[in-house]
Amino acid sequence: VTGVLEQDGPSVAAGHATDPVTWLGGVLAVVAVIELTVLRIGTRTAVHIPDIEALETPYLGISTLGRTAYFVAVVVLVALLGAVTVSLVAQRAAGAAAAVTGVLLVALAARIGVAGGEVVAAVTIVAIGALSIRLISHTAGIQRLALAAMSAAPIVALSTLVVADSLGTGSRLELSGLTVGEALAVAAGLLSPLLVAGSKTTRSSWIALCVAGFGLLVMLVGAGSTTRILMLWNFGLSGYLPDPFYALAAATMAFTIARSLAMGHRNLAVALALLLMGGIGLHSTYQTGLVVAGFALLAASIDEIGTRTGAATRSV
């Protein structure tokens, strides 16, 4: 007797470009990359340039562009979260849909000042937990390892902050918890190729691997303090582990994203990119939204996890 724990309704499988979720996800990924590159990295690095005042006009133009990209990304993010919620409801994934809705509502509550950061963090932990339960329970084999590490990293990091804050404990608990979260994030990057395991690699995926890996390694070795502070601010990674770990994790994550695109699994590629750009620090409801959107997109596109449609779905 075989029972399949798979969604009953239609999924957004294969990431077809005409699907609203896939299309919105693609738009968000592009705009968020611009926001990350220009605003979170570009302007924060530019302030280190001596006599930046002499370049005030171009600097202001670039930072305005970055801020515009940020606002566009926030609007598209809200639309994507709404669309993916509808998709999850259509797949009868009510729990996952409720999780996404909960994050949207608590982010709104935080915006109007009736919920604090700790409440957002608590709801986000529950939401990521609910989405990861769906993901892990509907996949099989080695893909579960990568998915477990991906969901555990922000959950551990956020839980540590919430517990340390509520108990008023010192930095020791926080430091150890955040270090575990950081190690899990690096492990998630290293394990991410499992999500496309068994498929033929392409030149583009190897190029992505080399560019991301060597690029980050050069930045860490050449401008370590600036790169680490950018990693901390943007992704919640303190740079505690040896440099090669981060370079390898970035390389394998880039490899997986490129491979997913080559396979036509656009939702998987976009989801991984959103998880990467959200990080584990979840400094703002925007970054929390990126991470939740990444997990929700994965939960709505489970068929894309694995080498072929349904390859990774679980049977019992």
Partner: protein, 344 residues
């Protein structure tokens, strides 16, 4: 409905146009839909005759306290610091003045500044010069987004320390015969470090590394006390700004705030200091009664809302898994064939 399920190129163009219009409107209005979710501190209103600059007055007990982690400053030379792992921060507002109280453990009170190897204990709070959607770079701000810094120094609070003759009793010290400012150029130029009686706390503005300067206008007050191997320092300023580059505080607005501490015993000075990330400060005009704690009007609905939300999410997840398992088993039993995407 088809526009939602199968959008055409025209639909997509219209949607993108609407997104850009909404985004630009939000940007122009400075209405950021997202908020920081880091540490949050609320400055409730209190009234009475207590001198809130005194760190020990009991009225401080009504204020929220948050624990803010610090790390060594590692962005710009001189690097270093990190000997103070955390500070405990409270905030209150009263009669149009914002008070921030910062407490941290320090085994030594370094208040003298007479010898060349004496370094003072100090503390600073940093705010964006303009409250809005743009958060400046943590370290000294940036060209288009400055910061306003209030720095308290133990040395200045206690004056400029003992004279050289009192410090080194066996030494012969030549001194300038004249006490005119002409012979003390730093004092003549108004350098607050050199001017005795200039106050313990300086109001500073900056727009990037190397641009830090005295704000010249706007009085910032501060007072610190060292007891039981810990400093407790209060800094305060009117909510209304008195000059360029200085923050104008508004009620119910989230304000990013960072803390820095210099440990004189570890020779901290300049960029060698312990710094925090931005934490969020919100001014709340709700008046709290002494000894009443955080207003129950905030605690009760928040707790109920969170509990209901968490219960709903967990309940939905458990219910869904049960229903899906049952549906899958029923489907398989009815058809006798596995669904097409199953791997047996």
């Amino acid at each position: 409905m088809s526009a939602l399920t199968h959008p055409t190129r025209r639909h997509k163009s219209l949607f993108l146009g609407a997104v850009v219009v909404i985004a630009l409107a939000l940007q122009v209005l400075g209405a950021n839909p997202a908020v920081s979710q880091g540490e949050a501190l609320t400055a409730y209103s209190v009234f009475g005759d207590d001198d809130l600059l005194d760190p020990s007055v009991p009225v401080w007990d009504v204020a929220d306290e948050i624990d803010v982690e610090l790390t060594a400053q590692q962005v710009s030379y001189p690097f270093g610091g990190g000997s103070v792992p955390s500070v405990q921060v409270r905030a209150l507002q009263s009669d149009g003045v914002l008070y921030m109280r910062v407490r941290w453990a320090d085994e030594t009170a370094d208040t003298a500044g007479s010898a060349v190897d004496d370094y003072t204990d100090a503390m600073a709070v940093e705010f964006p010069s303009v409250v809005g959607s743009s958060v400046p770079a943590l370290c000294m701000g940036q060209a288009d987004s400055g910061v306003n810094i209030w720095q308290w120094r133990a040395t200045n609070q206690d004056g400029l320390g003992d004279s050289a003759n009192e410090l080194f009793t066996d030494a012969q010290v030549d001194e300038y015969p004249s006490t005119d400012d002409l012979y003390f150029p730093a004092r003549d130029l108004g350098n607050p470090v050199a001017v005795s009686g200039a106050g313990s706390t300086e109001n500073l503005v900056a727009q990037g590394f190397g641009t830090l300067e005295d704000a010249q206008t706007g009085a910032v007050h501060g007072r610190g006390s060292w007891e039981n191997e810990a400093w407790t320092v209060v800094v305060a300023r009117d909510l209304v700004a008195e000059g360029d580059g200085q923050i104008e505080f508004q009620a119910d607005t989230a304000i990013d705030t960072a803390i820095a501490v210099w440990n004189g015993d570890r020779h901290d000075r300049n960029g060698q200091k312990s710094v925090s990330q931005f934490v969020q400060l919100r001014l709340d005009d709700e008046i709290v009664e002494f000894n009443s704690g955080v207003p129950m009007s905030t605690v009760v609905p928040l707790t109920v809302a969170v509990a209901v939300l968490v219960a709903l999410v967990i309940g939905f997840t458990l219910l869904l898994d049960k229903r899906q398992a049952a549906a899958g088993a029923t489907e398989t039993a009815e058809t006798g064939e596995p669904p097409p995407n199953e791997v047996s």
